[in-house]
Symmetry: C2
Subunit: 184 residues, 2 copies
Amino acid sequence: MHSIPIPSAKRSSRTKLSHAGAATAMMVLAVGLAALGSAASAVAQEAAKVDYPTGYRDWTHVKSMVIQSGHPLYESFGGIHHIYANQSALEGYRTGSFADGSVIIFDLLEATAADNAITEGKRKVLGVMQKDGKRFAGTGGWGFEGFAAGDPARPVVGKDAATACFQCHTAQKDRDYVFSVWRE
Amino acid sequence: MHSIPIPSAKRSSRTKLSHAGAATAMMVLAVGLAALGSAASAVAQEAAKVDYPTGYRDWTHVKSMVIQSGHPLYESFGGIHHIYANQSALEGYRTGSFADGSVIIFDLLEATAADNAITEGKRKVLGVMQKDGKRFAGTGGWGFEGFAAGDPARPVVGKDAATACFQCHTAQKDRDYVFSVWRE
């Protein structure tokens, strides 16, 4: 964590004040600290935030799968999903180890079954795994996020990545925590 | 069609030969003409041949669909298919008109239904539409080919494109004969 200077608090400690003035200074300090607290946690959250994967629809399609009612993952991942990978992640599929900068997409759409066919519906969630050993040291070097309906403004995982995502992915530790496999 | 010189035939017409020699010359001529015939039809087929779409797995994924037993297209296209487009074809999806050089892929894989999920199996056929107004003037400017199991050496459509492919695609004339629509 970086130290952040608080001009108002510093000034109040150097200045002789009336009682009322001191009370005001304390309030300023309190407000200042509260602001610092918010700023600090904002910085902490910022540091661990997964980037929205701009342009991912042009990345390479790795594989797809349909998860149907009755499947153990149906509640979370029911529908048709497509896996996409950026250039660095493609290399990771080949070598089994993903370099910082690798991004893997789990693009989940509704699957509409009708007339003996399954077609794609609306986007349910856009899942992202972003590799950065430093930023995401606590979760195997991967950041996890899900954007509801693919909306960059609606992240649904946030600081719950460890329990909501990584916990399952630990099963894949030998493959650098990645479930999907490149399909020719 | 280009004229192809047949040295052996020309030489035989200029040379005075014995009966046996004349018979040999006739045989040489016949063999020469047969060779010419093969070469000529090879040239004609060459002109209308669809290129194998090298590198298509890195092109942009447009959309996917699963066609199941009971669907009218099940016999031909049962399984899960993915549509890919090269850069020029992507522009075509946007404008509704596809420039020469546009290539659209219909990548058909077996769809394996088990445990309340549908997963991808082996490649059944790699379908290709290649736009070239001159080469494929007879079929809306599009060349059609299917490579069995994705094998470049096993084209299955050949000169049957008009009946095997284009006939259905005429229904989409207003969209430059393309069925698929870009899905965000």
